[in-house]
């Protein structure tokens, strides 16, 4: 068996360490070893985006990242969005605009939208559709997800002014 390696990184602002085989996928470390079951496994071939996490300022599909690649990284998952009991504008937006149904894609959607809004704080509908296209949803038809992201964009920009 390949030697296990200790990997430490920041997960939602807290330093964590896991002991993993080199082949262990980040999604499995998060879900199985670090009790962060928000990111989900949907396809395993990096098509669906349910496992999306934010890794050093990038939205990535954690089913296609090795945990050993994450040494010293900063990882944000859905579990890191609510701060001091206050929901993130995106979490609020998804509820207000009915941007979710079964909830399985939702953590990946919100995490992806977070990075999208960092790069483009006031995206058009077309831009949201383009930049959210790495996340599949079978329930909503995306229309209310677009609205949810717009809701959050509006709320976040008014908070800044």
């Amino acid at each position: 068996m390949a030697k296990k390696q200790a990997v430490s990184f920041k997960l939602n602002g807290r330093q964590v360490e896991v002991l993993v085989e080199p082949r262990e996928l980040l999604i499995h470390s998060l879900r199985e070893k670090l009790q962060h079951t928000g990111p989900h496994i949907g396809c395993e071939t990096s098509h669906c985006g349910a496992c999306t996490v934010d890794l050093d300022g990038m939205s990535v599909k954690s089913c296609t990242v090795l945990t050993v690649q994450c040494q010293d990284a900063e990882v944000l998952t859905i579990e890191g969005f609510e701060q001091s009991g206050e929901l993130h504008a995106l979490q609020e937006g998804f509820t207000q605009e009915h941007g979710l149904q079964c909830g399985y894609c939702t953590p990946g959607m919100i995490t992806r939208a977070f990075r999208l809004l960092k790069e483009n704080p006031s995206p058009s509908e077309e831009e949201i559709r383009y930049w959210m296209a790495g996340n599949l949803c079978r329930c909503t038809g995306y229309q209310n997800i677009v609205k949810a992201v717009q809701y959050a964009a509006k709320k976040m920009s008014s908070a800044h002014t």
Binding site: A2, K3, P22, E44, S46, H47, W131, N135
Partner: protein, 288 residues
């Protein structure tokens, strides 16, 4: 969907990476963005014993202009290409192409060097590289060589990159002002490879085509340079008839494999249609 066991290395310098590559030979694979290799490993189609991650080598990153040449580190991601002001200004074709690759998350990880070095005929950068007249810096422990994109892609998953070599940099001559470019890609959905795609680089002199380059994605064992099509256009006015003739010539070199995207006839026809689209758009973007 779990890879076989392997050993993992994350060298911080190119010489370290080359040393590991030399040490493990055939049993080693280089890991760039990982979005081609890791899925293959999860399906156990690829089973390297040693994985050398290039992600920690700083000198493999970055986009800069140096004396009329764009120099792009091989580990620069698609997303970095898309947001690069330098490329948006000087080489919009690369931005347009990168925007059509896979999906946002994959573009954060996928790298230009990985896309090129993989030799997959479905990858998009090879066609862009051909029409841009790019060259690649290939480093080995014995030294480095610079090879032109034209001729680099020799077959399905086969390139001139030798065992023991690492692609470190992509060099692209800054297209002359007024150059019109376009990458036209037909795909079934976001995240898919091209059913067929065409890259065009075009320079006009008045109404006459001064220089043109055309390359096709995913309609042969490797990327195809449509030379006869180029020749038919060069030095002549561009109109519906000449565009149609160029498309016909482009189609004549296609030899695609049938799959769920379509049969060989359809893919060939689409290579022609994408060639037409790309030529028209490049023409509309070219100034003189």
């Amino acid at each position: 969907m779990i890879p076989r066991e392997f050993e993992y290395y994350a060298p911080k310098t190119i010489p370290d990476a080359l040393g590991l590559l030399k040490q493990f030979g055939d049993e080693a694979k280089l890991l760039a963005g990982g979005h081609s290799l890791l899925p293959m490993m999860k399906l156990r189609f690829a089973q390297p014993g040693h994985l050398i991650d290039l992600g920690r080598i700083r000198e493999l990153k970055g986009i800069r202009e140096d004396g009329g040449t764009l120099r792009i580190g091989a580990m620069t991601t698609e997303n970095e290409l898309i947001w690069s002001k330098l490329l948006q200004d000087k080489c919009p074709l690369l931005v347009e192409g990168a925007r059509l690759i896979s999906d946002p998350q994959v573009r954060y990880k996928g790298t230009i060097g990985g896309d090129i070095a993989h030799g997959d005929p479905g990858n998009d950068h090879p066609a862009l590289m051909l029409v841009l007249g790019a060259s690649f810096v290939l480093k080995a422990s014995t030294g480095e060589r610079v090879v032109p994109a034209d001729g680099f892609f020799v077959g399905s998953y086969a390139t001139l990159l030798k065992p023991g070599e690492i692609m470190t940099e992509i060099r692209i001559p800054v297209p002359a002002p007024g150059t019109g470019t376009c990458y036209a890609k037909l795909k079934r959905k976001v995240g898919d490879f091209a059913t067929a795609a065409a890259a065009v680089m075009l320079r006009m002199k008045g109404e006459t085509v001064q220089e043109v380059a055309i390359a096709l994605t995913n309609v042969g064992a490797s990327v195809l340079r449509a030379r006869a099509a180029e020749d038919s256009l060069r030095g002549k006015a561009m109109n519906d008839a000449s565009i149609a003739e160029a498309a016909r010539l482009a189609m004549s070199i296609c030899d695609p494999a049938a799959d769920q995207r379509g049969d060989a006839e359809y893919k060939t026809a689409m290579a022609g249609e994408m060639t037409q689209r790309a030529l028209r758009t490049a023409r509309s973007r070219a100034t003189h």
